[in-house]
């Protein structure tokens, strides 16, 4: 195939593109010019229109207005196949490789002209010839489900290049990678752009990546073009200002040291082992302690046992071995135990793990307390008390909801998280377990929720914070542990925390 396709980077221009979803304007006359052989960053918060824009380019959506030009010619892209024919490829945030199939099977099936009967030996030879021309390789016979996130990302990129993509869109490519993997992959694609082989459009919200790898940046805010320019010409503060506009951002509460430092051990986990949904060991002998008044951060690439660890603490999954001791008593995740020890929980994907979507905000906020006085009077619940308590929490935690009776699923992600935060932190808290508490939220919500977590710590709560975002952990934690393949492989107090050492531990080295 490479014999016929002209090798070389494409340039793309989007002219005054608009897209409406009902009453919502997702994209409002956005123009964008990506020169060939450059790395162009598309920066913006969640909901700023970045995804809508690239989905219009890829043909997933059809823009209401505006043109797309490839190498100066106006083209019509009706679906992703059209885009692929033009040489435009995209690596999605959620990988689009079939998990049960091998890399070889995935790459061959991605071709536009898969033969009716597949000659695997010939395909393998052809793919090997292609891989010989690439700066990196991936094992062909491993099922994709068995690849690490960085390897999957490489396989995705190889897939696009195998399809002769000459314009590559990367959607938040580093969100599941260790810092080293992210550097390696971005370095590789940057090298290919510099060699004139590819043009890269990278969607991100990380300034570090923009500064290190992009040539040009375009910032979107609320569906509009907010600004942009050459990367050297803009400071981080300027980019941040373009991204968030006039929104007020709460300052992060300082971690204040009480005179004595961290207090008594509130949460002690010893030799904990947990199996995942497939019955494979996910947590293998984890021991850790969290003291009153400290935030212990757990870093790690997603899928290294952190979710299973949190699920055990939440009572959602049984442990196969080991003990969890809370305030000196064995803890099994029962409701009575969480109430007695004032254990609060902010699980990831709160709508799924901590809420009943179709029940009202008020009911969801009462889940921890509804069966006790004053919410319950004997057999009967008092809706008046439930609603009054919810109103109080809604004000205190600034939950934007039309009313306490609105189904919680209709709230935005940030407001669902605030509602759960209010429920969990509204009363006395001795222990707080939080998992990726700000995933997918905008600046204002992130700052708000971080402030609440630090405030709980300053009031003396023992906090276990699990996050895939290393910057978040470095900002909030008193101590950082790194989890890799179910083990704690690294531990450091925040004062001596080193990004490189943590990254290396995340990768299992």
């Amino acid at each position: 195939m490479s014999a016929t396709a002209p090798a070389g980077a494409l340039s793309i221009e989007v002219a005054a593109m608009s897209k409406h979803f009902g009453a919502l304007t997702a994209l409002d006359a956005v123009s964008l010019r990506v020169r060939s052989g450059t790395v162009h960053a598309l920066l913006g918060e969640n909901g700023a229109g970045k995804s809508t824009l690239v989905k219009c380019i890829m043909g997933f959506y059809h823009a209401d207005q505006g043109d797309l030009m490839v190498d100066g010619h106006v083209v019509e892209v009706r679906n992703p196949r059209d885009a692929a024919r033009l040489g435009i490829g995209m690596v999605y945030q959620h990988f689009t490789l079939v998990p049960s199939m091998t890399v070889l099977e995935n790459l061959v099936m991605a071709r536009a002209d898969v033969p009716a009967v597949i000659d695997w030996r010939a395909e393998r030879a052809r793919l090997n010839r292609f891989l010989d021309t690439m700066p990196f390789r991936v094992a062909l016979d491993t099922p994709v489900s068995g690849l690490a996130a960085g390897e999957k990302q490489k396989a995705e990129i190889l897939k696009q290049l195998y399809l002769d993509a000459r314009f590559l869109i990367l959607d938040e490519p580093t969100s599941v990678l260790t810092p080293q993997e992210a550097d390696e992959i971005l370095g590789l694609v940057r090298g290919m752009a510099a060699a004139g082989r590819l043009t890269i459009l990278i969607i991100t919200h990380k300034f570090r990546e923009v500064l290190a790898y992009a040539d040009v940046v375009t910032v979107l805010r609320r569906g509009r073009l907010a600004g942009g320019g050459a990367v050297g010409a803009l400071s981080v503060d300027q980019m941040a200002a373009l991204m968030i506009g006039d929104d007020r951002v709460a300052a992060v509460t300082e971690r204040t040291m009480s005179g004595t430092g961290p207090g008594a051990v509130r949460l002690a986990i010893t030799d904990l082992a947990v199996a995942d949904a497939d019955g494979m060991p996910a947590v293998r002998g984890v021991s850790l302690t969290v003291r009153a008044g400290e935030i212990v951060g757990i870093a790690g690439v997603s899928g290294n046992g952190q979710s299973e660890l949190v699920e055990v603490l939440a009572g959602q999954r049984p442990a196969s071995a080991g003990t969890v001791v809370v305030e000196g008593e064995v803890y099994r995740g029962r409701r009575a135990e969480t109430q007695r020890h004032h254990l609060a929980l902010l699980p990831e994907e709160p709508l799924r793990n901590a809420c009943v979507g179709r029940m009202s905000v008020a009911d969801n906020m009462a889940f921890r307390q509804f069966d006790r006085a004053p919410y319950a009077k004997g057999f009967w619940l008092s809706q008046a008390v439930i609603r009054a308590a919810a109103r109080d929490l809604i004000t205190r935690y600034r939950v934007k909801t039309p009313s306490p009776d609105t189904p919680i699923a209709s709230l935005s992600g940030g407001n669902v998280q605030r509602a759960v935060l209010g429920r969990e932190l509204g009363g006395i808290v001795h222990i707080l377990v939080a998992a990726n508490p700000v995933f997918g939220l905008d600046f204002a919500a992130v700052a708000d929720i971080h402030a609440q977590i630090v405030a709980a710590r300053n009031r003396g709560a023992a906090v276990l914070l699990v996050s895939e975002d290393l910057d978040e952990l470095l900002e909030l934690s008193d101590r950082i542990l790194v989890m890799s393949e179910g083990h704690i492989v690294h531990e450091t107090p925040i004062a001596s925390a080193d990004r490189t050492a943590i990254g290396r531990a995340m990768a299992g080295h």
Binding site: N79, P80, R81, A84, Y92, H94, F95, T96, L97, V98, P99, S100, M101, E105, M109, A110, V114, P115, A116, V117, I118, W120, A275, D276, A277, D278, G279, M280, P318
Partner: protein
């Protein structure tokens, strides 16, 4: 008289011989329904309506053979009716927020009801039955001859099993079906339409179930009546899960199940009548035991297509 004498001569050997013969005979509908359902489930959808398709296939296959005089035309008609019912299932499931299991149960009742209604005039007549291959010609013993009287559909199923296994990993169509069943998102990103692939896969499942049904009315027992199916369609759906979505597994599971069904009558033939009802329940007990042994409350079933609603 001579049969009884021979049975006595063979002694307890009668039981395994009868079980083998019975297994081949009884397993045929299971094999067809489960191979078809395997393809449907590989595409990420489950069709519980195959019980209804099976009964419709039995009725229409019988009607086709009776009207045309050719049993094979009956089989073809049964398959076409199965395709129509499969398309109905897939069509309804293509609508947003429709659950495939609920649609399946509705179509199971619809198919059986419709077959009973349309099949009323078919209870009396006699239709030509499917031919059998006398693979026991080398033996003088009538039991062995009877046991190895292998029907043509079984042979087709036997050939289809490795063919399907090969096709699922070596043809474009097989790979697309697996892709859609394991990650609809990935398939969509490559420009394949999961709904259309599932429509085709469900139609194939319907065709196979219809053919499996025609076996009941055209070979064994070989007539049409309302008590023809004793849940073969729904059992075959369970066999697919038990066979871990592997065609060879489906073949072996069907044989095992067929053998278990044949065990009761075989034992009665040699005079073991105590607990006859219990032996007749053997296949169901076997299913329960195997499903309990191979399941776990803690983890998903290995090998399950990722998009399948029952295993998510």
């Amino acid at each position: 008289m001579s049969d009884v004498a021979l049975a006595a001569n063979l002694g307890l050997w009668t039981v395994p011989i009868a079980v083998v013969g019975g297994a081949i005979r009884v397993s045929t509908p299971f094999l067809f329904v489960s191979l078809g359902e395997l393809v449907t489930e590989k595409s990420g959808r489950i069709n519980l309506g195959l019980e209804g398709t099976l009964v419709m296939g039995a009725m229409s296959g019988f009607a086709g053979a009776w009207l045309s005089g050719s049993p094979w035309l009956g089989v073809l008609l049964a398959g076409l009716v199965g395709i129509a019912l499969g398309a109905l299932h897939a069509g309804i499931c293509s609508l947003p927020r429709v659950n495939d299991i609920a649609v399946g149960i509705a179509l199971m009742l619809f198919g059986t009801g419709l077959a009973f209604y349309l099949g009323k005039p078919l209870v009396q007549p006699k239709a030509p039955t499917l031919p059998a291959l006398p693979l026991g010609w080398w033996s003088d013993i009538p039991q062995i001859r009877a046991a190895l009287e292998v029907n043509g559909l079984f042979v087709i199923g036997l050939v289809l099993t490795p063919l399907l296994r090969w096709a699922l990993s070596n043809t474009r169509w097989g790979m697309i079906v697996r892709m859609v069943g394991d990650s609809a998102e990935a398939a969509r990103a490559l420009g394949y339409s999961p709904l259309r692939v599932r429509l085709a896969a469900t139609c194939f499942g319907g065709f196979m179930a219809g053919v499996g049904g025609s076996f009941l009315s055209l070979y064994y027992p070989g007539s049409w009546n309302e008590g023809l199916s004793s849940g073969q369609g729904i059992t075959a759906v369970a066999l697919v899960i038990f066979a871990r979505w592997n065609p060879v597994g489906c073949f072996l599971a069907s044989l095992l199940f067929g053998g278990a069904v044949a065990l009761g009558p075989a034992l009665q033939a040699v005079g073991v009548t105590a607990g006859a009802y219990l032996f007749n329940a053997a296949p169901y007990i076997l299913t329960l035991v195997i499903l309990i042994l191979s399941s776990s409350s803690r983890h998903r079933i290995a090998g399950a297509p990722g998009e399948l609603s029952v295993t998510r």
